[in-house]
Symmetry: C2
């Protein structure tokens, strides 16, 4: 019934909505404020891992930029976040003759360090977890396990290749520790054939020792695998001084425009302010941050008054803790807020194709009924389930309907979590189209509910 | 009736076709031969304007690569092409005080030169053709007309912005000549805000004098417009030695796999081998060339036997004459060939979204009935009319149904016809997805006709 009512309303207003969406699109593509914001975030602040001075600067920057939109409320939401620091890193490959050659390594986020002396041990190449599990512990004990698991290039959506690979970063190190390994090296979780290691979060299974874990680039992994296969046993030296420091105080940055008719129904949307501590966090997730800011700005600039409350959230600590997302859901519960939809943009700043959705069949049907309005902006794909990490706690706690913007995925994992995730690798018009899609979706839900 | 029969066949074979398309996609994404071909074409040969030694090398290269696929026939189709050479270029802006500052210029293709002494004259800034047409000839006479017409950033498909802009490159110079202008400078036909001039074809209306015509970059145009608006009248000096030499012999490169059941029905597809003489012609149209080669290679590698004849054409001289496309259609007429479909890829190597089509309603419906097979590869858009320049003569002569691959258009005109159209700006997976889409479409039509 709600669905049918919604469809009737849309049908009545299709011309007006179509014109509003075109006005939104024209404004964003002509002014590209989000692109200028991203340049500021990337170039004036740079990378910004939770707990770092840059993360603190990013909070103040986000608050300032949101305040400049003139929206109804901008506030900080306090949250304690982990404070992992990378420190120094050194890697060497040692061949049978004792010749040492350096190799660029990148500690995995949350990993322990090797201690100041480093670790030197024989390398054991493992192509997949099943191969490790078939081995006897004495074959693994004391060795540095090199997980050489490849990113599957045949998936059209690269996020489908990311999932299986990320296990080797997130969970496999403890499986190696269980077998007695002294450290883990992984092939980067990346679609690129280049010389940049890609970092990212890992976790330790507390039943087993926490062992140092690092990534090497895909080209370095290919070279190393070839050397091991042709020359036989190699040794490796790893020295990392990364460590987890005590939690520090940080913030989610929140801004809203109060609904003119049904203010207690909230549509929230966001990206995460923190990034990895290499590169500039441009696609991950500077893009989602500036697009979320752009939704608020565009409503304000164009004088669009949402019937329901719309709220942008710049989450802290998506990368190595998700504390911001958890905190937001806790506060929503404490304040008995009614979120009718949460949208995340955390899949990069490329040309958007659609939104993934986790919600009821009726809600999906309502969103899909807007396809004719969204198709002119290249938004056609509503086939995938999904939401996003930062809005996951809302979804799990309240069953809040969630969506995530789906940009083209071909380039994302080339840059993700690496030194290549910089402003120069985000395209102005593509980023803007993401803002258009987000603003259009927020507009429609703010007018017609869900 | 033909349509209904076609749909029945598809329905019966949907599982098999779906599996074949996945095999095609896996092969292309795993081997990315087209990307390696593009590297060779761009880095070993480079740019290759019609009549140049590089164009000759490109013909031999294309023939060799196609022969290596082991397909049934590879042959050259002789065609006489224009031979325009750029020569030297020098541009200077002269302010009221006589201060001279250099400005990078790029002669428009087919333009005449200034003669060795160059031209110095007052600059007249014109924002659009209507403004010129409202002027009196004495206001224009002897001046260098600066067309500062802007690329419309608000269109989602950038090809819609290209059309109106390109008039200022193609036709407006003669309108200025008609009013007595001594030369024309145009703002680059480009979506980028950068310092690279973009060249491209122009034509002269024979009723008026042929005057030198050059492009400047968009940043240079902005700077110049601002200076004129704040400081008043400026002068410009242009020296270009470009010229049109006598026609030279060149070739289309053609390769085919003969149909196993209905060999006289031909599906042809292609891109153009020639490029502008700056950059590397990577997107325009190295991409279309290597994708067309890839269709033939993929059929051969996978042992797919098309029921109808499939034919790749690497056209010569799309950029400044279209002689290759015209010659191909003439030969098709002479040989009484029956082309049931022609497909062009000449819109860059980005992620493909669909195909434009000019054909009957029934034929369009048949193509659209394959949407479920193509959607997994991101191919959803069949809403646009269109074909391509090189297959235009076939369409006009025989009414041949034509299609063009539609890649994402956001970045294309940033690089198009400029020094930025280089291999490094083509993405491996995106280029491969274009090959997948082309091969899939050729496969379906080769099996089910049109």
């Amino acid at each position: 019934m709600a669905l049918l009512a919604g469809q009737t309303v849309v049908a009545q207003n299709v011309k007006k909505d179509s014109a509003t969406l075109k006005t939104i699109s024209n404004y964003i593509l002509s002014n590209y404020d989000c692109y200028n914001d991203l340049r500021d975030l990337c170039k004036q602040i740079g990378h910004r891992i939770s707990g770092s001075p840059q993360a603190e600067q990013a909070v103040l920057w986000g608050k300032k930029v949101l305040e400049q939109t003139g929206c109804d409320k901008v506030y900080l939401q306090e949250v304690m976040v982990p404070h992992w620091v990378r420190g120094e890193e050194q890697g060497m490959i040692i061949n049978k003759k004792g010749m040492r050659s350096s190799i660029e390594i990148s500690s995995l986020g949350n990993a322990v360090g090797t201690g100041p002396q480093g670790i030197e041990a024989p390398l054991l190449i493992i192509n997949n977890i099943e191969q490790l599990q078939r081995m006897r512990p004495e074959e693994v004990k004391g060795k540095i396990v090199f997980f050489n698991y490849h990113f599957n290039q045949t998936n059209i959506n690269t996020f489908e290749s990311y999932g299986p690979c990320v296990y080797y970063r997130w969970g496999a190190p403890s499986e190696a520790a269980k077998m007695g390994a002294s450290a883990v090296v992984i092939r980067s979780v990346s679609s690129a054939f280049d010389d940049k290691p890609h970092t990212g979060s890992m976790s330790y299974n507390k039943k087993y020792p926490a062992i140092p874990s690092v990534a090497i680039s895909n080209l370095a992994a290919d070279k190393l695998a070839k050397e091991i296969n042709t020359q036989g046993a190699m040794r490796m030296y790893i020295r990392t001084t990364c460590e987890m420091l005590p939690d520090v105080k940080s913030y989610n940055v929140i801004a809203e425009i109060t609904g003119s008719e049904i203010p207690n129904e909230i549509i929230c949307f966001g990206g995460h302010l923190d990034s990895w501590d290499i590169g500039e966090g441009a696609h991950d997730d500077g893009a989602g941050v500036v697009q979320s800011i752009d939704v608020i700005r565009t409503f304000m600039k164009l004088g669009i008054k949402p019937k329901r409350t719309i709220r942008a959230i710049l989450f802290m600590n998506e990368e190595n803790g998700l504390r911001g997302g958890q905190k937001y859901a806790e506060e929503a519960a404490r304040n008995k807020e009614n979120h009718i939809l949460a949208i995340e943009s955390d899949a990069g700043g490329a040309t958007p194709h659609g939104f993934s959705m986790t919600m009821s069949r009726e809600q999906k049907a309502k969103i899909k009924s807007w396809l004719p309005l969204l198709l002119p902006y290249g938004i056609y794909d509503f086939t995938r389930d999904g939401g996003g990490a930062d809005i996951g706690p809302l979804q799990r706690k309240f069953g809040t309907p969630v969506m995530e913007l789906l940009p083209d995925s071909q380039r994302y994992f080339d840059m993700h979590h690496s030194a290549n995730d910089v402003f120069e690798n985000v395209h102005r018009r593509e980023l803007c189209l993401g803002s258009v899609a987000m603003t259009a979706m927020v507009y429609l839900v703010s007018m017609y509910g869900l």
